[in-house]
């Protein structure tokens, strides 16, 4: 259809809705309100998301994104990127040829020695392709055939604030839009009762309480604020300000909103004020959210088997496990971008004590979530991202043998994994050197990862930009980024 004809059709459909039902309440607005309200009223017209023009650029392989963000940099050395060389050279100084002259953080740059530390635990070859995964992650071992492990990630940043901002917004400095906000801006929502981008935070048992995180990681940056991630929290008010004031019930609120709409509509007609009509619709969606959100976070309907699969922590509100289960419920409801932040991977100290706890937090729930999505047919069009901001050093921070010994930040190479819509499961991509210190083969910059995520959603990252400060800003920045086609189906 010619774009103009398409617009005309849309216009006509909206006009129909507007009169047929005074359908303001059913009307869409902002990112939180998709244009799919027509579904019930007009089944002949295929509902369309409020995406921006020309999107998707091509057929997507994923409709939604689940980002399981492991905050603070998990140890690729111990968990995924197994190098027997490290065991062989355990305790020896890392060879200068490997270490090179790259910058280190201020935490280890003045160390006298940089002894190699072997992986803290054994691992095993898993799945049909014999993917090595640490025994710290026994449940992840069982999903080896579903995931694609990328071992050659790299970033320029070496400290948390810039690195985590970089991974989540494509820039080390603040002021840029988060990945979820970009996707929300580009593709809009498929659910008329829930926000399109939802973020959840959990504390880790590895490091207490972990590095601080920031609302900018799910923020809108320069995009309109309606694209920012909406925080979902456990408890009576999963979304801030969701609950009616005390002494106010739902029927009363309904009558209140009807009065409000009547007063607003009357005035809007007098003044010719379109903004007011948008506001009426916003109040209606707020009203719907008051029932859709509690319904979403109510886990009482989940079977015992499901709860058991996610592990005991699922019973602790706000835990990573509980958030994983809620994530599945969000994805079932077609929320476009769901992002979990799990803190506590910053094992500078006492890594031997902290890492097992931290792995226990995420291992079982993550595997359960992947299986759950698979069983429900959601994995095929959900892109799952298990990522972090950088890796950790193969050499020790602190003295070898000291129980307080840990590993410092390492941006030169690190590991992430992907699964689901459009990703080839059971494969590994990229290779590091024998000390998993430098990339030996197929480097993947975090911008390449972003480009790949957008690609799976049917978006050409080079053509997806927003005009700001005199530039067409892209999630993938100004340097050339590459879709990692090798990992795609």
């Amino acid at each position: 259809m010619h774009p103009f004809e398409e617009l005309q059709t849309t216009l006509a459909r909206r006009a129909f809705l507007a009169t047929a039902s005074h359908g303001l309440g059913a009307m869409a607005l902002a990112s939180l309100l998709p244009a799919s309200s027509a579904r019930a009223a007009d089944s002949t017209l295929k509902p369309k998301s409020n995406n921006i023009a020309g999107l998707p650029h091509f057929a997507p392989t994923a409709k939604r994104v689940l980002c399981l963000f492991q905050s603070e940099g998990f140890s690729h050395v111990d968990l995924f990127d197994y190098k027997p060389t490290l065991t062989k050279h355990h305790g020896e100084e890392i060879p200068p040829s490997i270490k090179g002259t790259q910058r280190l953080t201020g935490m280890t740059s003045r160390q006298a020695k940089y002894p190699v530390v072997a992986p803290l635990k054994e691992g095993r070859a898993c799945g049909q392709h014999g993917t090595w995964i640490s025994d710290f992650l026994p449940h992840t071992q069982t999903i080896a055939d579903d995931i694609c492990i990328v071992k050659s990630m790299h970033t320029e940043a070496i400290n948390h604030d810039p690195a985590i901002t970089y991974m989540n917004t494509g820039n080390q400095q603040p002021g840029y839009a988060s990945m979820g906000a970009w996707v929300n801006y580009g593709l809009g929502s498929e659910n008329e009762n829930l926000p399109a981008f939802i973020a959840m935070v959990s504390q880790g048992s590895g490091k207490n309480p972990g590095q601080p995180i920031f609302s900018r990681l799910w923020g809108n940056g320069f995009l309109p604020s309606s694209h920012q991630g909406v925080g979902l929290r456990p408890g009576a008010n999963p979304v801030l300000y969701l609950a009616n004031p005390p002494g106010t019930d739902r029927d009363q609120r309904r009558a209140f909103l009807d009065d409000l709409a009547q007063l607003n509509r009357q005035r809007a007609a007098e003044l010719g004020d379109p903004e007011t009509l948008a506001r009426i619709a916003a109040y209606e969606m707020a009203y719907r959210m008051q029932s859709s959100v509690p319904e979403l976070t109510d886990l009482t309907g989940e079977s015992a088997a499901t709860l058991e699969a996610y592990g005991p922590d699922v019973h602790r509100p706000g835990s990573y496990a509980a958030n994983c289960l809620i994530a599945r419920r969000l994805l079932e409801r077609d929320v476009r971008f769901v992002q979990l932040f799990h803190r506590g991977w910053d094992q500078h100290i006492a890594i031997a004590r902290q890492l097992p706890n931290q792995c226990r937090d995420v291992d079982q729930p993550t595997a359960a979530l992947l299986n759950d999505l698979k069983q429900r047919g959601l994995l095929k069009d959900t892109l799952v991202l298990f990522n972090t901001e950088f890796g950790r050093t193969v050499f020790s921070q602190g003295q070898l043998g000291d129980p307080n010994m840990g590993r410092d930040h390492h941006g030169r190479c690190f590991t992430v994994w992907l699964a689901g819509g459009g990703i080839r499961g059971g494969m590994e991509y990229g290779r590091t050197d024998d000390f998993c210190y430098n990339i030996a083969e197929n480097p993947v910059h975090l911008h390449d990862l972003h480009a790949t995520v957008l690609h799976c959603l049917g978006i050409d990252h080079e053509r997806f930009s927003f005009p700001f400060r005199g530039l067409d800003i892209r999630l993938t920045g100004v340097e050339k980024a590459r879709v990692v086609k090798e990992i795609l189906v």
Partner: protein, 1112 residues
Amino acid sequence: MSLACPIERSIAACNNALLATTPVLQQFTVQLKMEFLPAPHLSLIAEQFMLRDFVTQSMPRFAIGCGAWLVTAISVTSAADGKLDFGRDIRPILADNCFRCHGPDAKQRQAGLRLDLQEDATKRQESGLIAVVPGDVAKSALIARIMTADKSERMPPADSNKVLSEAQKDLLKRWIQEGAGYAQHWSFIPPQKAPLPTVANQKWVRNEIDRFVLARLEAENLPPSASASTDRRTLIRRLSLDLTGLPPSAEEVEAFVSDVDPKAIERLADRLLKSPHFGERLALDWLDAARYADTNGFSIDGGRNMWLWRDWVIQAFNSNMPYDRFLLEQIAGDHLPNPTPSMLIATGFQRNNMVTHEGGTIPEENLTNYNVDRVKTLGEAVLGLTLACAQCHDHKYDPITQRDYYQLFAFFNSVSDIGLDGNAGKNPRPELQARTVLQSGDQPQVEADLVRLKKLLAHPDPAAVTAWASAQKQELAERGQSLALHPLEVLKVSTPNRGAGWDIESSRYVKITQASDLVAYDVSLKLPTTTTPITGIRVVFHPDDAAPGGGWGYGPSEGPARRQSKTADKKPDLKGNFVLTAFSASADAVAGDQVNLNQLLSVRRVTANSWQDAYPPENCLDPRNENGWSPAVDHEGNVHLTATFKQPIDATQTPYATVQVNFGHGRSQVAARFEMIAITGNDDGSPLPADIITLLEKDTVEKNAAARSPEEIDRLSTYFANHADSTRRVRTNIANLEERLAVLTREFPTMVMDVAAKPRDTFILHRGDYSQPTDKVEPGLPGFLPNLSESVGTNRLALARWIVMRENPLTARVAVNRAWQMLFGVGLVKTSADFGTQGEYPSHPQLLDWLAVDLMDCGWDQKALIRKIVLSATYQQSSAATPELLARDPANRLMARGPRFRLSAELIRDSALKTSGLFVPRVGGPSVNPYTPGDLWREISHYGSTPATAQAFVQDHGEKLYRRSLYTFWKRTAPPPNMTVFDAPNRETCVVARPVTTTPLQALVLLNDVQFVEAARAFAEQMLHRPGGDHERLSWGFEEATSRPPGDGELKVLTAALNRERKRYGANQQLARELLSAGESPRDERLSIVEHAAWAQVAALILNLSETVTRN
């Protein structure tokens, strides 16, 4: 309508066709546009037209917020007469499509061709071709390359993702045909006053502004809208909100309506311009631009003290400091001769940047980032230039070289700031101790109020004391009833930033083996298997041989004075002590590693068996490091603290608990050995001190309270005054007033600029990378703009002088544009941060220039500028829009009607406070923490292991709940959620124009945020205190909120709602009581609960009206 461009014409034609299809559809289309107006949507439609490339280059680049109105807009930036103008019609096309490779950036330049300069574009290239041959389209290689069918040859190249529309190609051809005229970019030429245009409708004109606006309207054949001056109500609302950020009261509205003086409007404007709230209103926009915040921003995001600078800004606007002086002091106040503290405070402007003290970061990298931010802010807020683009390479669109960039950078690189700084609530250096410059005039009143309140507190009502004493006696009698102690099994201990340093003994005791500063221990516990409700948890601290003097802890006994030398005053012979700065606990179905912040147990009461006067047990409920509980050193044996929960724990449902004990006081004030005990039954402790207990129990023995001696009565009264719940409000008020008095009379720290003893050298950084310095540069000014005629050195004063010199073409224009944006919702240049070639061409270039010159002619008088604008007929037009006008000029760029837009986040909250009568008009001072749900800070912060402040949220009380929103504490990593949903930026970086969105989350805030629910309750009280019946009261309330009385239809709806709610609450008074419990302000208890609740619902209805949150 005249449209320069065929595609725009086609859009308009399509729209017209659509409008013409059927009357019904036409009506619907109008409706549709209305529905689509929230920000992103029109731009989305525009993009669905596949016109994005075109639209974004000839129309506003800042295509969000109001920029959503692209589709149907007539081209406001094209000429009415159809003549080509290089700056307006051609340069934007070349800039957007060609300059990236053929522009100012020499490194990126392809084929040696440069199109931004006439000389280069028209000279023969090495290839023998000439890109632009004036007057000869056929010979111009540029045309050949854009027209060719050969895809590999075609410009712009495919991989640029740029496509020239046919219309743009036609324009380029026409331009060459017409002689390929070039002109310098409009904003780089100093502005001049053009002759005032002549207009037909002379009668409409009030001042010069109107001539420019009307001339354009007449050319477009559009009449201006009716003047709102005939609707005085609209006008006073508009002026009050614009100039003070507060709506007028109903009385003020009516007085203005009945004022027959023809000069009434001028008098009104003058009154508002003199209001102390004028400075607050103007400061709001400047705080965004200057990225003002109360925390450091990066990483741990600790607190800083910068409010003295905010006070300075408010004072500067209130005293109408000339704009050149305003900039001069902020950029270089320290370089002025004999700088006053005020001038030094002003330099905080360029210290508002984010700062980090994240461990492990590299100081040089951080310092580079700080200066990058300063240059960026200078560019966007002051010069309207996207200077930041030149950090890594020459600017691709504007003639700013990378050298220019680092020369500007060098001006700021001489400050003595350091790379990692700003921990422990201390300001990143350099800082200054100074008094506020704010002239609030409220000191006498504050002092008088203090005297009055202290007197009140010193003489409590004896009846109240007696009643309190009986209640205390009752509690004492119930002490320890059915008390049972259940030692708890310790499953795990964890602590921030430490992997070791403790042991668990016998699964019961936590033994600290390595004492250190600032540490919280999370103790994961198994609760006893009892069906008896667990009422509280007791933490018992044991003396330990490992502690100094066999004491309870590792810190010096005397406790206080945190964060001083750890060793200097340690006396090993004294008993070691500790300070418990916070206690928190949660219960869960499964064991946790850390206290579950989502399930925190509310503590009703906390007691201890010993404490020092300055360290009472209740301090543990305040999570901050500054205070805490510490036992008296002379106490023998164990000491313990007992927290009783509001809701007991049911261990059958939640068999696990996690308790966090925080020793955040520094100086190793950490306990040595402790255990946790669950209690069932009543705590046997009391929050009362021993002598009060004795006194009260003596009563019990003697059964005769009257037998108390005068000394005893005095002691009880004093204790009551200082501790009872019922006197808390007075105590809070006193504390707030004392703080205010201190603010007005004492010195406080604030961050300033200075010159380091050894200023750092500045280098051009290869690709902007701090680790790749190349050529050394000195501070210097950009070469493409007029330079200073005289040499004034190379410090920041030279920069400041250059910025405010008359020949600087940008400064005054940017200032005028920002004022215009504030008053019309959108600037004359829509891209208010970008006046460069990628920015939007002004809608009224001559008007912008006229006002810019006039501003300078009037000595940079900002109030005069604003006064002129608000007294123009243009500003005073009615904002009612006809469907035709909406379709033709949805964004109102031609100003054929008055502006209308949603109030900003701060103004929405301030208006609700004002209307409800809760508003506290105090100006200036430190930031405050009004209501915020939960502790959103602690959830994401580094609480428990850092001396940084602002890691846990502690709500303020009393007047601090009702201050203007610009005083709300701004934590950058977790800004106030009820303001960010209304598009307030997080203040991480400079923002000169906020987008405007409409979302359901905004509705939730207005409906359910306790701030607004309380405002509705207070507003209801105001209405109930009015004379007359329902109609009179409703009318007054409606007018108080919207500045107009309700119509009959509206009154009917409101009355019906009121009666419905009366019925509802009449049937259930408990619900009424619950609704009225929202907020901390006192309620007039004389009002009927049912009436008050019913009115509160109606008040909420009025406060939620679209009109209430909209500037008409």
